[in-house]
Symmetry: C2
Subunit: 398 residues, 2 copies
């Protein structure tokens, strides 16, 4: 690795369909149960990270979405430390082409998301996955990296793979077996589509880290879920994905989302992530599926009010119109649906009657339409001598 | 019992602090776990039932809140059948003073509540308890009656006693040991006070009977709660009541309410009884207690959005003003607080800041202030020959 190297990579967001909530080890970020997620397409949602390495840098620094942040934050330090350790191990293997020179250099890291933070989509997963992946390209580290990403943010380990990914709980206290692995590649289920319904920003909610700590401490229902229920739910979910059984996939997804939020309510003090609009979306989905006597659409909610909807491509046109009808946007209609385009199909009067809700004006800010994708396909690297000040988006240099 | 007897009795409402949710037998109404409640004062909340018995009546009939209802409804039939069976058993004991004449007569039943149905307070408990108690006075049946009331509506068995009452789950399949019994009389904790916060009527929610059936069928968390958690929670609750430990009583009450609602959310499809205002009340209570570093106030919610607040008399004046401040009534302020009067105490600015919520105009319709009381103290009976049409409130006679 030459001095002045600059590498840029991107990493995807993932949405858990079997939720991670609760740690058995706060330092190493080891979970109380396994989890399973779907990796989303980077065209619509991704983190892009550029890292420059130079002997001229006095210290490590990081800029996130244009603002310098504290590089000494412990999780950032965990990732940097672990990647440097792996890099040293690699150069310790004796390959003369790999000098240790770069390893003593400081790095400047610049990270941006192509989706707004206000969207409430967890950017820690894509953010830390990107950081770890970009460092691996910079330091020439190969092999298993999900364990490092995990130490930045638990769900980040799942963003190291595409398609359908599980994060196995692991049994070791040192966490070396608490890793992500791919269940199926994204080519497995091309008909699967995803809508992110961004709900109008409301009151600030409890952050995940502190929320799940309180849940682990106070919720007996969470303890039971983690010890006795998730394992079976993981098996059923993997079976549903492997057989592309959308009905089973959808039902399990909705049940797991509800169970996660149930454990939040069983926390003391209770945690409420679902807003009134979230509940109305849930009601809409159940009425919609009931009308067709079929699970055509499924919802899942993370630690916030936004809904992530899974469906099959054939159902998208009508369902998007249904959402638009019952959650009419306030204005600038063209901005209401972002991402992959969706055909328009009229909503029948019988369907409107079957759902029977009062339309909720301005309940949903906008929709992002996306799909499942493998990460790394838009990875690109730049190498070359660094000229101070040339790379404006890297922020100010000393 | 002479022909033409008319008896009038009243019975109280009770509020569960360890919730009943789920049956192991739908016919006999046997629960999946024990429950514990507080019986409320009849001056503010009660059902009054008058029963007339006459050889001239062609059939049993019932009027509830002024409207004739279907006497053949199975739970009404259970109560009538059981009480007549007990009455026959009694007269079969050979006491010559007790003829069986009255038993072959039909009854006309008239039942009214002194609280509006719109208040969302479960009137089935007070209603069936009153029916059973009044029938027992009419038929001269003594002894254990909670098992009969239970067959009308599960929670009705707890209204057969005053003060603090437990409904034991029972082990027998025939339900003969699934009974209510008093834990402490109402004289035990005279400082305990109750506020019912009647939230603005919103969308109709799922009825308890069908809701709990779906929960039993679909919620693993409910199964675990019933099998493993409630028993220990009951012990702790009884200990808190016996020692008048409000802090423990309050915390257990809030936790059990949240856990019950958590199992509703873990139901499929999920059941939401808490409204946005309910959640804001929960938040208010936690902020209020946090400000004082003490559990001064506790909430519990049944299968609807209304809050029942428990507190000690000394905290009432300030807390009522806090509720009024953060949930300002729309108009007719005098009607905002009903029931027992409460002194007025100003709310300090630091307390308002500590709670830090935006006031929610018109979130709460009104407050009922009440306390714990023993039932039966306002029981009164009338005997005499029935003149057709004399008793207007009995509804039309043939």
């Amino acid at each position: 690795m030459l001095d002045g190297t600059v590498i840029t990579c991107s990493a995807p967001v993932n949405i858990a369909v079997i939720k991670y909530w609760g740690k058995r080890d706060d330092e190493l970020i080891l979970p109380v149960n396994s989890s399973l997620s779907v990796t989303l397409h980077q065209d619509q949602l991704k983190t892009t990270t550029t890292i420059a390495c130079s002997r001229d840098f006095q210290e490590d620094r990081i800029w996130i979405n244009g603002r310098e942040e504290d590089i000494n934050q412990s999780r950032l330090q965990s990732c940097l430390r672990e990647m440097r350790r792996l890099a040293r191990k690699r150069s310790g293997d004796g390959d003369p082409a790999h000098g240790v020179a770069g390893l003593s250099h400081k790095v400047h890291i610049c990270s941006v998301n192509n989706f707004p933070t206000a969207a409430g989509l967890a950017s820690s997963a894509s953010g830390y996955a990107c950081l770890v992946y970009t460092l691996s390209r910079l330091f020439g580290v190969e092999g298993e990296l999900s364990a490092v990403a995990r130490q930045g943010s638990g769900s980040a380990c799942r963003s190291m793979y595409g398609g359908f990914v599980q994060w196995k709980i692991g049994e070791r206290a040192d966490g070396k077996d608490s890793l992500a692995e791919q269940v199926q590649p994204e080519t497995h289920w091309p008909e699967l589509r995803v809508l992110v319904l961004v709900v109008n920003a409301q009151r600030k909610h409890i952050g995940s880290t502190s929320g799940m700590q309180t849940s682990v401490k106070t919720s007996s229902l969470l303890k039971h879920r983690a010890e006795c229920l998730v394992s079976g739910q993981m098996d059923k979910m993997m079976r549903a994905i492997n057989t592309k059984d959308f009905s089973a996939f959808g039902e399990l997804t909705m049940q797991d989302s509800n169970q996660f939020h149930a454990t939040c309510l069983d926390t003391y003090p209770p945690i409420f992530y679902l807003s009134d609009v979230s509940r109305q979306i849930i009601n809409l989905v159940h009425c919609y599926n009931h009308h067709y006597r079929e699970i055509k659409v499924a919802y899942t909610f993370d630690a916030g009010p936004n809904a992530v909807i899974f469906t099959l491509q054939e159902h998208l046109p009508e369902f998007v119109q249904v959402v638009r009808y019952f959650f009419p946007p306030e204005s600038n209609e063209e901005q209401f649906l972002k991402g992959l385009s969706v055909d328009s199909v009229p909503v029948s009067e019988s369907l409107k009657a079957a759902i029977g809700m009062e339309p909720v004006a301005n309940g949903i800010s906008y929709i992002i339409s996306t799909k499942v994708k493998v990460p790394g396909s838009s990875m690109w690297g730049l190498s070359g001598t660094l000229a101070t000040g040339n790379l404006l988006f890297m922020g100010p240099f000393p």
